[in-house]
């Protein structure tokens, strides 16, 4: 492009635009617009671009590649649009590029493999405007995202950029600009929804010549990234909005406060500012008029609270980001940085301003609802199929956003709740799915618009856990200045942590509510005042989950550990044994033909639950069965059962005549069998000269001798016995002995007391010892 010099009057900008419109984005040139937003870059869009460059050079095609900002559909990245056919492609890999060239760029036909489709059975949707994700969207703040290269001011001007500035400077007074914004009733997109026009007016009326325009790009809300995508993908629209604001309120200096987690945004903004300055759109005598405005970038350093206006000011001044009590408000003397009155708005708010000025307030008012005109960008994330940025007119229902644009829940599971407004917002349950979304309606159901994060949750999300998550975020981000927030959130978090780890107590719910209300009322800044919101709103709609956690020790979403009863569903289990391997506490036992979880050993760590490849490990609600009530067993016999369950092998030994049959290791097999038959026992213990146990000879060993044709007369018993038998101490519980005997498939168990043999116990002993009780129970049950 030839024109690189400063523009000195408004007419020149018009001419420049006409020139760019003619020369850039020509209709007949093949063009791909590849998304280079953060998410798509992470999925490899630069590799795709490289492939396009190589491929077009190889084939000698004059292909125009536009590296755009975020196009919205992050989940299916890298996404791109091929023009002039307007075909939308998703999940493009470098190896697809060859075919894309052949089919679309050269052949003008869609390349089926890269086209969006809802699922594998549905018809592919080639045109971008037909893709369900884009169909219901209406793009104002994101109007240029996906269309232009953010590094090029020429692109921005070519698509109509700085036309609003042109209009304002040439035909509107500052008051008229302000009135237009005020009439459009655009409400602050940062969260609280305060009308921007009122804010501007307030700042304009403040005494003093020096005023600041601040753009708040400290987008700390987890789950929101619309500001990032505007700063990265369309920085000039932010600059234009800020210049218009500066013109309206008479400010000379501006700041953009960006959080340090967004390095690409900082880079793109710096490029944009430099380009605008070079072109004379920013700086002294903008476009040859007497309007002066400069913008500096301030990087945050990782503090969520700095999104709060007074804390942000402190951070700009280079201090700890502590909020201050208001008033003075930012727009009043003493409120802004270094005491100068300032106007602070969200990035998205500024990005909407050029449209209002260019197309008029009436256009803006015609979109959305009367109370909240315009559109809002939402970061649709969580358990939806199509995650990404969506911009929709206000008043659209949650159902339309989640199910039509978002494509429904992953895996077609049940929708449980949607969390809006980040850590300050709340969870909205399924019954409000048809709620029209705007600032006021969200507040009325206990949530808020916030910066527009929208996290969808399904049946696998535990609401108590979600509340804990947000609270722990607020707790760790609390700046510590005022005690209600610092200590209140800490206490609430402690209670929630107890509840989610299965140690909830009666009274926890009441305490949470009480502390929550205190924090809400007593905190200094917005962070503290809204910190209990997630807890209070989940309590409002999902109280039964809290109760389940506390009283039944059960988490229906199977998220919290230390809850419920673990069982293996035998019908589903295909006995791979992974659960047994995963268990660090040896609670998964293997029986002859199945695995089961022994509750006494189970610590409910969920290792087996995660290990099972087919989800055969189930977590059930603990049943509190009272034997007396359920089976009408008299309380005395319950006592006996309980006592019996704790009996040891010693008790069994004492219940039967003491009989230890032993033999020395050099006696012949025949002799041993004779002794066994005389004493009528199934096994004989073999001892050495020091009376120490060295082996056991059982009926099964005798059978083995027969099979192997071993001579009963000649062979010594020590050669055919089972050496080093499993023994048990007499204090072992009966249940443990049974478990080992069944697992090791043995029927005779020597019981030791120290080195001394205390007796023999057979499987039959155990059965007959327990039998009366079992019979008794069975009789009572049936």
């Amino acid at each position: 492009m030839a024109i690189e010099e400063r523009i000195n009057n408004i007419e020149d900008l018009k001419k420049l635009r006409e020139l760019f419109q003619k020369e850039l984005f020509k209709e007949d040139t093949p063009r791909v617009r590849v998304c280079c937003g953060t998410a798509c870059t992470a999925s490899g869009s630069y590799k795709v671009i490289d492939a396009f460059t190589n491929e077009s050079a190889k084939r000698g095609v004059d292909l125009e590649i536009v590296k755009t900002g975020c196009q919205g559909l992050c989940q299916k990245g890298p996404v791109m649009k091929a023009e002039p056919q307007e075909i939308f492609y998703q999940k493009i890999k470098p190896e697809n590029v060859h075919w894309l060239m052949s089919y679309t760029i050269l052949g003008g036909m869609p390349y089926r493999q890269g086209i969006y489709r809802d699922n594998i059975l549905s018809e592919p949707v080639p045109l971008m405007t037909d893709v369900p994700f884009y169909k219901k969207q209406m793009r104002i703040a994101l109007r240029n995202n996906g269309r232009i290269d953010p590094h090029s001011i020429h692109h921005y001007i070519a698509v109509g950029g700085y036309a609003a500035l042109e209009k304002a400077l040439s035909s509107m007074t500052p008051d008229e600009v302000l009135r237009e914004v005020d009439r459009a009733n655009i409400r602050g997109r940062g969260g609280a929804g305060f009308p921007a026009g009122k804010k501007w007016e307030h700042c304009k009326k403040a005494p003093g010549k020096i005023k600041f325009v601040i753009a708040n790009g400290d987008e700390g809300d987890p789950g929101a990234f619309m500001d990032r995508s505007i700063m990265e993908g369309d920085p000039h629209s932010l600059l234009e909005g800020m210049i218009l604001c500066a013109y309206a309120i008479g400010a000379k200096y501006g700041f953009i406060y960006v959080r340090h987690e967004y390095p690409l945004a900082v880079k793109n903004l710096k490029i944009a500012i430099k380009q605008a300055e070079e072109l004379g759109i920013l700086g002294k005598n903008i476009l040859g008029t007497d309007c002066n405005f400069t913008i500096d970038i301030r990087e945050g350093a990782g503090a969520f609270v700095c999104g709060e206006s007074t804390a942000l000011v402190a951070s700009i001044e280079g201090q700890r980001g502590f909020p201050k009590p208001r008033p003075p408000r930012l727009s009043e003397p003493g409120g802004g940085p270094w005491g100068y009155p300032s106007n602070l708005n969200n990035i998205e708010t500024y990005a909407c301003v050029p449209v209002i000025i260019e197309k008029g307030a009436d256009y803006f008012l015609s979109i959305g609802t009367p109370g909240s005109p315009g559109t809002k960008v939402f970061a649709l994330t969580g358990k939806v199929k199509n995650t990404g940025l969506v911009e929709v007119p206000m008043g659209i229902t949650l159902r339309e956003i989640i199910f039509d644009i978002g494509g429904g829940i992953i895996g077609d599971k049940e929708f449980k709740a949607v969390q809006t407004g980040g850590p300050s917002g709340g969870c909205i349950p399924a019954k409000y799915l048809d709620l029209p979304v705007d600032f006021d309606s969200l507040t009325s159901v206990g949530s808020m618009m916030g910066s527009g994060g929208m996290v969808v949750m399904d049946e696998d999300n535990c609401m108590v856990d979600v509340a804990k998550f947000f609270l722990s975020f607020c707790q760790s981000e609390s700046c510590g200045k005022c005690p209600p927030c610092r200590m209140g959130t800490y206490q609430m978090l402690e209670i929630l942590e107890r509840i989610t780890s299965g140690k909830g107590e009666d009274g926890d719910i009441e305490n949470l509510l009480k502390i929550g209300k205190l924090v809400l009322k007593g905190s200094l800044c917005g962070l503290g005042q809204s910190a209990p919101n997630p807890v209070l709103s989940t309590m409002k709609y999902f109280m039964e989950e809290y109760e389940e956690h506390i009283y039944d020790k059960y988490c229906r979403a199977n998220v919290c550990s230390g809850m419920g009863v673990f069982v293996i569903n035998q019908l589903e289990c295909f006995r791979c044994g992974l659960c047994k391997k995963a268990c660090a506490f040896d609670a998964v036992k293997e029986a002859r033909d199945r695995y089961f979880i022994e509750r006494d050993y189970c610590t409910k760590c969920k290792a087996c639950y995660y290990a099972c490849p087919i989800n055969a490990v189930k977590i059930r609600k603990q049943r509190h069965i009272k034997l007396e009530e359920e089976f009408r067993i008299p309380s005395e016999s319950v006592e006996i059962i309980e006592r019996r369950a704790k009996m040891t092998l010693k008790d069994v030994l004492e219940s039967k005549p003491l009989e230890i049959v032993t033999t020395t290791k050099d006696c012949s097999v025949r002799e041993a069998i004779n002794i066994m038959s005389e004493r009528n026992v199934g096994s004989i213990l073999v001892i050495d000269e020091n009376n120490k146990l060295v082996g056991i000879f059982t009926e099964r060993d005798a059978v083995r001798c027969l099979a192997k044709n071993i001579s009963f007369e000649k062979e010594a018993i020590q050669n055919v016995m089972s050496p080093n038998p499993i023994t048990f101490n007499s204090s072992t519980e009966i249940s443990a002995a049974i478990a080992v005997m069944s697992r090791k498939k043995i029927r005779h168990l020597p019981v030791m007391e120290g080195d001394k043999i205390a007796g023999m116990i057979s499987y039959r002993d155990l059965v007959s010892y327990l039998l009366p009780e079992i019979c008794y129970m069975a009789e009572d049950i049936y």
Binding site: T38, H260, G318, A379, G453
Partner: protein, 162 residues
């Protein structure tokens, strides 16, 4: 280290006093130091304090407030596991746990040989690809077992991530 106060403070400097300018660039100066040393060494902070004529206690007050600043050396590779809402509901805790177990460390710690620092971050704004982790400057989306193993491999073999 060279800090040009007027350049850093930008256009706003025109209306500020010298003192305001010097405090105003404090965060930027700290970021520069951290960029160079990977953390904030005490002696460098002392020099900064002399240079800007800002009390060391004030510098410490600011630096200790922000999460970005560290007072102890950090590892060569820095892994940040995103703990944002979207990542949380899609199972970032599991990713963190497996990394913690693999290297036998807790989040926020550095391995003794300074090969790696494991951290968590509130949200990196890449929620569409949840769960997300960053290794140095690179973002890895849709973390699963394989990708966790890739990261472990990169750290253990010591080669830089692509």
């Amino acid at each position: 280290m060279e800090i040009k106060v007027n350049e850093v403070i930008g256009y706003t400097g025109e209306v500020l006093t010298e003192r305001q300018k010097k405090t105003g660039i404090l965060i930027h100066a700290l970021q520069k130091i951290q960029e160079e040393y990977n953390y904030l060494p005490e002696d460098v902070l002392k020099k900064l304090s002399e240079k800007l004529a800002v009390p060391l206690s004030d510098i410490y007050s600011t630096a200790s407030f922000y999460k970005q600043f560290y007072f102890t050396p950090r590892g060569k590779n820095i892994i940040k596991v995103c703990m944002g809402t979207a990542c949380h509901v899609r199972g970032s805790a599991k990713v963190l746990r497996s990394l913690e177990e693999e290297f036998d460390m807790k989040e926020g710690e550095t391995t003794p040989d300074l090969s790696m620092t494991l951290e968590t971050v509130g949200c990196i704004g890449c929620c569409g690809l949840a769960p997300v982790a960053t290794i140095n400057e690179n973002i890895v989306g849709e973390m699963d077992e394989n990708k966790v193993n890739d990261i472990i491999e990169i750290i253990k073999t010591g080669k830089d991530s692509e």
